[in-house]
């Protein structure tokens, strides 16, 4: 992770606009955003793979490409169909050789809120409506049900990917070139936003990490998590994030080592029925798991 520290590109001369062919390639590659989805970085490896045609065209300097690839492996989670919006903005910043710190902050700040909008539009609105229209056709035995379903949804998905890519790439080019005079101040402001959004992510994505210990007590069972919530809601997610930050930043732990620690915490915890989740602990314990 040494190159994490490189905050500037060696070659700071803005690259020419990437070709239409490259943008198209990135749009199609964006369909594999979640190819190696995982709990640690979520979509990052798929994101980087989708960005690569653009990054390779923009960063002709080998060291800059490595720097860019490294920070594009940061945690990211956004809506898979709306991702091209983030890609276009990040690509324009990469192309204009913005400060790496700024790119990182803008990347996560744009990606995170998009997830919610995308879900609301697609999974909660378009899919149920389309399913309502076509499912009964299928049940009635018509092959047109599935065909229509696929065409409507896939068509909307690809139109969204195309439209957002071009819109955000052009927007990013305009916005980023305006920022050059105040680059340093912009970097600071972007980091403020980035840190603010990560703080929100801890509460928003971390809510699943809870204790499941419930001690039988007649009418009023004692739920340990409720006491923790009285101290601070989402206390465990916050503490665990700070612990990981401490281990990585101060103790020089690698992410893999952190993952290992968490795996042990999770599995050993479940042996004793500490975490929530409705399973049966391996070891008989005097409490139930909620």
């Amino acid at each position: 992770m040494a190159s994490n520290q490189d905050l500037r590109y060696v070659d700071t001369k803005p690259a020419p606009r990437v070709s239409k062919g490259t943008l198209t390639k990135m749009i199609w590659r964006s369909t594999m955003l979640q190819a190696s989805f995982n709990y640690e970085r979520m979509q990052s490896a798929g994101w980087l793979w989708a960005m690569l045609p653009g990054l390779e065209e923009v960063h002709t300097n080998k060291q800059d490409l490595a720097t860019s690839m490294t920070h594009n492996m940061d945690f990211i989670n956004t809506h898979p169909f709306a991702v091209t919006f983030v890609m276009g903005i990040v690509l324009s910043m990469e192309q204009l050789k913005s400060d790496v710190q700024t790119i990182r902050s803008v990347r996560i700040s744009v990606a995170a809120p998009l997830g919610g909008i995308g879900d609301a539009l697609f999974w909660y609105t378009l899919v149920p409506i389309t399913a309502g229209l076509t499912a009964n056709m299928a049940i009635g035995g018509s092959i047109m049900g599935p065909v229509l379903y696929f065409i409507i949804l896939f068509g909307c998905e690809m139109a969204l990917r195309y439209g957002l890519m071009y819109a955000s790439y052009n927007l990013g080019m305009k916005a980023v070139s305006m920022m050059t005079e105040y680059a340093q101040e912009f970097t600071h402001a972007a980091s403020v936003l980035g840190v603010f959004v990560v703080g929100a992510l801890i509460a928003n994505y971390g809510g699943g990490t809870k204790l499941g210990i419930t001690i039988a007590n007649g009418e009023a069972p004692i739920v340990i998590q409720n006491y923790l919530d009285m101290i601070l809601p989402c206390l465990l997610p916050l503490l665990l994030t700070l612990l990981m930050y401490f281990l990585i930043k101060k103790k020089g732990w690698t992410p893999v080592k952190c993952i290992g620690l968490i795996l042990v915490l999770g599995i050993v915890g479940a042996m004793f029925g500490i975490w929530t989740g409705g399973y049966t602990p391996l070891i008989p314990v005097p409490w139930t798991v909620s």
Binding site: S36, G266, Y279
Partner: protein, 263 residues
């Protein structure tokens, strides 16, 4: 028992397993997948009926926010096998497939955990500026996910409904392990956050981190607006960032002497 059917079934299951997170993200949905499986098993009509019914069941059970509902791909494949091969009626098949769908969910949890470990390989490839290494990581992940799904589909085809009791007891005995894996899976994102913070979090920014945390907590607990939490929080964040930009921009101007006129 028909070898061609088994091979084709394994292939489409492999593809649907990847499709549920990548590719079209539409083709794996029961309404599309079931008729295709029906085509392989020789009964498209049943595929249409099961697909439509399952699709309606799934409204309100969407794969959002990282939650893993019983897996729709294995649900579809196994419901079709039971309905066409074991001649079960449609509702019985949909009920009996659920234990397999639960295993699909386990496989997904397992793959997402294993792939966290492989991020180190991707980091290394990135550091070396090696695009082929990134491709490799993505291919490995797709292979793991697709193959595990294909294997379970074949097991369901060969073993049929007779397997259910064994699966039920396995699922019960392994429940602590799967519970532990999903608890760990839920916590692994904190490592991803920590890596982000390692670079972004300057000493003057701790307050912003906590403020973002609080905003998400407050908004996330108001039922009517909680679905839009991150967007709403981002709006507040933009206002704070604009203010930060303005203050620091003014400071720069003052330092350059640009503001001294008239004061």
């Amino acid at each position: 028992m028909n070898i061609i059917e088994i091979v084709l079934l394994a292939i489409v299951t492999f593809i649907f397993a990847i499709d549920q997170f990548s590719l079209t993200e539409i083709a794996y949905r029961p309404i599309v997948a079931c008729p295709i499986i029906g085509l392989i098993l020789g009964d498209v009509q049943t595929g249409l009926v099961i697909g439509g019914t399952y699709e309606l069941m799934m409204i309100g059970n969407m794969p959002v926010g990282g939650a893993q509902p019983p897996n729709a791909v294995l649900g579809s494949v196994v419901a079709m096998i039971f309905a066409v091969k074991a001649k079960m009626d449609i509702n019985a098949a949909l009920g009996a497939c659920m234990i397999f769908a639960t295993f699909g969910q386990y496989v997904v949890t397992l793959t997402f955990t294993v792939m966290s470990g492989l991020m180190a390989k991707a980091d290394k490839a990135a550091e070396e500026g090696n695009p082929a290494g990134i491709t490799q990581v993505n291919v490995i992940s797709c292979l793991i996910l697709g193959s595990l799904f294909a294997v379970i589909a074949v097991i369901a085809y060969v073993g049929g409904i007779a397997l259910s009791p064994a699966l039920e007891s396995l699922s019960k005995n392994a429940s602590w392990f799967m519970g532990g894996l999903s608890a760990a899976g839920g916590m692994m994102r904190f490592v991803g956050f920590a890596i982000l913070l390692k670079i972004m979090l300057a000493n003057d920014m701790w307050g912003y981190l906590l403020a973002g945390f609080v905003c998400a907590l407050v908004i996330g607990n108001i039922g009517t607006i909680s679905a839009a939490t991150l967007l709403l929080v981002a709006f507040i964040g933009v206002a704070i960032a604009l203010n930060d930009f303005r203050v620091n921009g003014m400071k720069k101007k003052i330092e350059e002497g640009g503001f001294s006129d008239g004061i």
